[in-house]
Symmetry: C2
């Protein structure tokens, strides 16, 4: 960092503490014995306080202001911008509110779990009311220009405003609805059932993950209830999946998805670790990397040209022929549950959630009316009647954790992935041929250069524009989904 | 804690940070991808600094002095005593020395690994010289009455002095030598070779570990290069072992040993977690718990009355008959390597190391002369000529980590275990019958009451005296080892 080694050291300490939080979080989901949960909560709360103390230390604020006028290099300016963004926010949110949110969401997750298992929205309602109220307060403290929702979105998608999302999503929605209507008239493949021992699934997943570039010297694969990817500083990025022995595609696409996230983390320039710009540019960009490998690569016919012989060797004769398998894994059909959704319907799931959570934060929808609003919007989008909130507005963990503003990043990820894919096709001259030969290095190399190595030097939308030559829009994703709808995998 | 909730909160924060260090340490040995080692080192160094800052915070020292006169309850007095011990030491050791030691030992471990693999003492010598010099300096800063070695021993065995160890060890030595000479004349069983899949060994180990009381709701079993037990606060105590598929006893006794440690951690009163007294009383007492279950229980004929049918069911027909197996696992015979040693020879290994490290700290042995001194003492003790330092003074990691003062706690553990066992026999009226019926609850209950629940309310030697009615001495261990020498298992 130019000019201020004290600030640089201080920021590295924040990064180290956050990476320790990352290890504890991974451990909690993968390793922690149940009785250790309370103490782990206390460890996490302490670390959160230590990070907050360092972000709000007057020395940091003064140092950033002093450094601002001297920052000339791109990385220095990005560092200042990112530190300022975080410090300004941390200084604006009172410690009292941070603690109230921590308590409300810790309680919220537990009660949500119970409420979901019983489909009992009334049980969760008081928690949701508290969480929405506190998030509104957080938005008011953090400040915003147009919508209070923007103040929350900025945590996950720095620099992005809901007006930008609205204009893209509004164009996307009718086109998606049309694709889904069209798909209804066509026969769809069945889920690929069979008998696939967990060990074989893991072996296949690891081979494919490494083939596309995951470095096991700096990472690992484990099992958890909900698949995730967790980077804890250079040389330590871990992915998880879960196994269904009747359906290998669950673990397989879980691993491909998380590998996409991991490749981004492993592609951040380790030599700059601890600098504020040396992190992924946004959640949307992160999701673009996972969706790129999972969907743009992993569900393509070209990919299965390469992968089928390998999968057949590892999984054995119950693997369907490629001609049957590929349509199966690209089938389109509405379902109640987001995480079980196909690529096309998925985005409608997100649109629905985005609009409802935005309305709750803006105060035009009160939490009490959420189930009704959900069910009405769901039937309009998918033509299906929700009969239990378990399969409706209680299905996702996000709101109980206070993660309001997170949902739209999923669809941003899909949009960015499709757009990157088209640009890559132009630059490399035909990605599919490479994929069909298992030549993933040029593809990963392109992503490394255009996205990974750039960290947070710019916003996700700016990085997308530079990489693809145009602003983010919905055309590329719609072209991709239309092809799938027409059976061109 | 009586009277000072600020101090209590502050100390809990130290405990929380140390438990986070514990999680990171466990993860480093069990999970961490190799490329993550550097960043993990930085995380660890930061946490060490945060702990040290809190120990040396003037507020703590003032609060302890204020609280000292008001402490009436046993727990309060123990808290003050333990906090004072740690704070006084932390204030006396300059930060510069702490850092030099961290650097020297981090470097030392790496160079030791290389030096050991090549049996090249000359390569390790400069590191050892630096480490011994810094530990002498540490002892001088920490202060002592008789030997500088006492200042180092106090870290592992609070309140214990080397003069006490000398008087016990000096009595033990000739008796052990006699037992080993006698054993030479008798035929010894062979190592129990066979074919035991790792999965079966793990299943057996877990069943036995749980049968004697290990709570898997608050713990787990994993694999690592060097077996260990690691407690990270209430409800999270983890053990590891390693597997040799030709010899199940390696993993089996590893698991029993670490289970003994884990039962101690799981027996600390969770409701007082974060208070200074609520930790194990010493490393010697910790080792007594592991040795008790591994040796006093696990190698006894009574234990195999209960365990053999279970082991046979899990391991299959290659398990030797009990009459062959039990002498095998109690065989006595000198070996060069401490960790492969039998129960009797083990203590002579420790005596040798204890005397050499004490001489180095007192300055009567210079590191350059260590191999000669080791080899001479080894031949005198075991009648074997050391031909490579790999199997001699380079075999253990301890000195390279700065762990001087640690070795004697192993034999203290054996002594305490034997003495506890005799007292338990008197109190419960025959431990062996219970063991042979798999009734471990009364045995664990006795240890819980006499040892575990007492934490650090008193020193290990005081706890032993209270539990057994007499001071620590060598007779009980010698009676136990004599029986084994005579084939009474």
């Amino acid at each position: 960092m130019e000019g201020n080694s004290g600030l640089s050291t201080h920021w590295k300490e924040i990064t180290l503490l956050e990476s320790v939080q990352g290890v504890l979080g991974w451990d909690e989901q993968v390793m922690l014995p149940p009785k250790g949960a309370d103490w782990r909560g206390s460890q996490g709360a302490l670390l959160a306080r230590l990070v907050h103390e360092r972000l709000t230390d007057p020395f940091v604020w003064e140092s950033i202001q002093n450094a601002e006028s001297h920052a000339v290099l791109e990385a220095s300016r990005a560092n200042i911008r990112e530190m300022k963004r975080r410090v300004v926010r941390a200084r604006r949110i009172p410690g009292r509110l941070v603690e109230e949110l921590a308590r409300a969401t810790s309680r919220g997750v537990h009660i949500w779990q119970e409420a979901r298992s019983r489909g009992d929205f009334a049980k969760f309602l008081p928690e949701l009311q508290t969480i929405v109220r506190l998030k509104q307060e957080e938005a008011a403290c953090a400040g915003y220009e147009q919508s209070p929702y923007d103040a929350l979105l900025d945590e996950y998608e720095p620099g992005c405003r809901s007006s930008e999302i609205d204009s893209i999503f509004n164009k996307l929605e009718p086109a998606l609805a049309l694709l889904i209507r069209e798909a209804k008239g066509r026969p769809q493949g069945l889920a690929p059932k069979g008998n696939y021992p967990e060990e074989s699934q893991k072996k296949l997943g690891l081979e494919v993950s490494q083939a596309i570039g995951f470095d096991l010297q700096g990472g690992r694969l484990d099992t958890s209830a909900h698949p995730f990817c967790s980077g804890h500083g250079p040389g330590d990025c871990r992915i998880t999946t879960r196994y269904d022995e009747t359906d290998f595609t669950q673990s397989f696409y879980g691993i491909l998805h998380e590998t996409g996230h991991a490749l981004y983390e492993q592609g951040l320039p380790a030599e700059h670790a601890g600098q504020a710009w040396c992190v992924a540019s946004s959640l949307g960009m992160h999701e673009s990397q996972s969706r790129f490998w999972e969907n743009m690569v992993g569900r393509s016919s070209a990919f299965w040209d390469w992968c089928w012989p390998l999968a057949h060797r590892v999984l054995g004769p119950s693997l369907a022929a490629k001609e049957i398998l590929v349509p199966m894994i690209n089938r389109i059909g509405p379902s109640f549950i987001r995480v079980e959704s196909d690529e096309t319907c998925y985005n409608l799931h997100i649109l629905l959630r985005y609009r409802l959570e935005k309305a709750m934060i803006e105060g035009t929808l009160v939490p009490k009316d959420l189930p009704g609003a959900w069910n009405e919007a769901f039937e309009k989008a998918f033509g299906l009647k929700v009969t239990s909130d378990r399969e409706g507005c209680l299905q996702d963990v996000h709101w109980s954790t206070g993660g309001i503003g997170y949902f739209p990043t999923y669809t941003l990820g899909n949009l960015i992935a499709a757009q990157l894919r088209e640009a890559m096709d132009r630059d490399l001259g035909g990605m599919s041929q490479m994929v069909s030969r298992g030549e993933f290095a040029p593809i990963l190399g392109w992503l490394r250069e255009k996205v990974h190595h750039r960290g947070r030097l710019a916003t996700a939308l700016e990085i997308t524009r530079t990489a693809t030559g145009g602003p983010l829009e919905s055309d590329a994703l719609l072209r991709h989904l239309t092809k799938i709808g027409h059976g061109e995998f």
